[in-house]
Structures are given as structure tokens and as C-alpha cells.
Symmetry: C2
Subunit: 191 residues, 2 copies
DNA sequence: TCAAGGATTGAATGGTGGTTCAATCCTTGC
DNA sequence: GCAAGGATTGAACCACCATTCAATCCTTGA
């Protein structure tokens, strides 16, 4: 029974994620999520007090997955330049694989309470990047700089550069290399 | 009479801007705008077919004002490095003067139709920046790069770097210089 | 001064979609 | 087997707010 309850909760989150990946947040009425999860509308409220709470958790889950993937890719590299290239490649590559979801997570108009979760998401990326930047600075690979400001600005640059392609549905094949070049310059990677 | 009509229209836009600067888009019910403008709710609809149309125009007006101020400041400088420093200083300085309005224009959740206007806003900044970057590249002051990608990424970086301080209500005094340093690196300005 | 026609009013309307809840269905422990 | 208690249902509810519109008020041209 406990297990069944927990399974329902997971099914709701999965259903919400599925609809977000398909139709974005706009398609995510509580009724639609419940139907996709194979439950009645009201049952959703046995698991989440409000819609905003549900989607805060959905965003948290999806964001964590993204951040983890990026962190894992970066951890395979050794220099800061390579680590940050991996960040860009993974972030952008995944976004282009699931553009509707990426757009929802990055930029789609959502409930303010959910929007707050987006800040956490961006903050998590910024911290990940800041760590690699700080190491690069410490080792002398990168010039002195405020790793946190650099990281924040890079997150903004990445997101902004992806929103266009995501909205258009396609990115030119050179978007990602160009972004990596930009970011290496911004970090002060010596050529 | 024509004049009175036009004056009403302007009063509505000004009222909407005032409320946005005070309480953000969230505070902008049609009733509140009408009251602030000294009109009845229904009268707003003599001037704008829908709320979205009204706020599209409000965003357009406010954005144009911002972009113009930034363009004017940049035009006073001669090198690309100085021009882009002026862009950052003006953009960030104005945002910090009117943080609630800046947040509304940059990042607050709004009606999708209004959101579209925001893209135009960001695009206008990107084009302004791209122009200066292209000149810098042409003159050899900056290394070869795709001016449009650089500009888009810089707009994102600027916006992201400002959202934190705007939400917090204050920015450290060194935020702007640090941002200028970041952007100079990202452009490849030689030290 | 006075009608005609447009401007103004603001309470009523309506659509949307999140939220509730009484009825029903299961599961569980005796 | 069988009640008790919690889970589930989904139609009804309700709040919010953009939008409308019949009644009223002005302005204007004669």
C-alpha cells in the first residue's frame, strides 16, 4: 500500500514530465496530468497540496537530472577548458534532444512559485561552473576573476543562446562549437 | 476631443508603467490600471482591444526607451571596448535605478503575448551589440567571431547577472566593473 | 439652446482551471 | 468473511479577472 502510494506519486511526476516534454507547461492542467497518470483529478491532491507544489517538484526533478548529467560529463575532463567545453556540449546537446522540455525548464512563462524553482536550477548550474572556474583560476590555467560572476554570466549566455534555436526547433551545426569558442574566450583560456 | 482621447491613451500607458515599476506585472490588473489612469475599467477597452495588446505596447515603449538610452551612451564612445563598456554601464545602471521595472521587463512571468514582445526587446539589444562587435572585428580591434552569437550570449549574460541583484534589491558596487571585465574578455579585447 | 452621436461608466457576465468533497471502492487486520 | 478506515473518484464549486454592454454623460455643430 505504501508502495502503491509512492508509485502513484512517481507516476504523477512522470506524467507531468511527459506532458511538459510534449506540450510544455501550457499543456499541464491538473486534469491532463491526472489522466496521463491514470488517476482521477482529485487524487493528485492526495500527493501534492497545490499544483504549484507539484510542479516545483517536477522542475526540481528534471533540473537535477540535467545538472547531474552536465556534472558527470564535466568530471570526465581534466583541464578547466575541457570541463567547460563538456558543460556546454552536454547542456546544449541535451536541450536540443528535448527542445520542448528545455524551453519549459529555461524560459516558458510559468506560475511564479514554479519560477522560483527555476532560479534554483540556474543557481545549481552556476555553482557547478563556478567550481570548475575556481579550480582553473587556482591552478593558473585561467586568469584571475570572480568565479561566481563568471559562472552566472555564462549560465545566462548559454540559456539565451539556446532559447532562439529551441524556439526555432533547430540549431545550426556550428552553434555548439561557436558557443564553446565564446565561452573559452570569456574564461580567458589562452589559445 | 481627439487630443483628449490621445491623452487618455497616454495616461493608460503611463499608469501601466507606473504600476509595473511599483508592483510589477503582477499588480497590473486592468481595473488597477484604469483606476490609476482615472478612468473606468471599461474605458481601457476603447483604446486597446485586449489587455495583452495594451501591455505589448507598454513593453514596447519601455523597451525602446531602454534600448535608446543604451544606444546613445554607446554612440559617445569610439572603440568597441569602450562602446561595450558603456552598454553594460548604462544597462545595469538603469536597471538598478528601477529594479522592479527592470525585473518585469527582463524576467517576470507574463502573458505569452507580452512575452513575445520581450523577445523583440532582447533582440534589439543583441542587434545593437552585434553592430559594435562587427565594427570591432572589421577594424581588427577584436578577434574574428560571429558577432550575432557573441551579442546574443552577452545579452543573456547581462540579463542573468542582473536578475540576482534585482531580486535581492541591491548589487555590490563592484558588480558593474566585474561585468565589464567579463565582457571584455568574452569579446577578446586585448589587455 | 438643443438634439445626435460618440465617450464613459462600472456592475454584470463568462470562461478558465485549480480545488473540494460526498459517495464509492479497496485494502487490511481481526 | 467482514467491518473500519483510508484511498479514489469526478462532477460540482468557486475565485479570479478579462471582457462586455445597457445606461448615462458630454461634446459638438447647428
Amino acid at each position: 500500500m505504501k508502495a502503491r502510494l509512492n508509485a502513484s506519486r512517481q507516476r504523477i511526476i512522470a506524467a507531468a514530465l511527459g506532458i511538459m516534454a510534449e506540450d510544455g507547461y501550457a499543456g499541464c492542467s491538473v486534469a491532463a496530468v491526472a489522466e496521463q497518470a491514470g488517476l482521477a483529478t482529485g487524487s493528485v491532491y492526495r500527493h501534492f497540496p497545490t499544483k504549484a507544489d507539484l510542479f516545483a517538484e517536477v522542475f526540481r526533478t528534471a533540473s537535477q537530472r540535467e545538472v547531474d548529467a552536465v556534472a558527470r560529463a564535466a568530471a570526465l575532463e581534466t583541464t578547466a577548458a575541457e570541463q567547460l567545453a563538456a558543460v556546454v556540449e552536454t547542456f546544449a546537446g541535451r536541450a536540443l534532444q528535448a527542445p520542448r522540455l528545455a524551453y519549459a525548464l529555461l524560459a516558458e512563462p510559468v506560475d511564479p512559485a514554479v519560477d522560483a524553482e527555476r532560479l534554483v536550477f540556474r543557481r545549481a548550474y552556476a555553482e557547478l561552473i563556478a567550481g570548475h572556474v575556481a579550480e582553473g583560476v587556482a591552478s593558473g590555467e585561467l586568469p584571475p576573476q570572480d568565479p561566481d560572476l563568471t559562472a552566472t554570466a555564462l549560465v545566462g549566455a548559454l540559456a539565451e543562446a539556446m532559447v532562439g534555436p529551441l524556439a526555432a526547433g533547430v540549431a545550426g551545426p556550428d552553434t555548439i562549437p561557436a558557443l564553446i569558442a565564446f565561452i573559452h574566450r570569456a574564461l580567458g583560456v589562452s589559445p
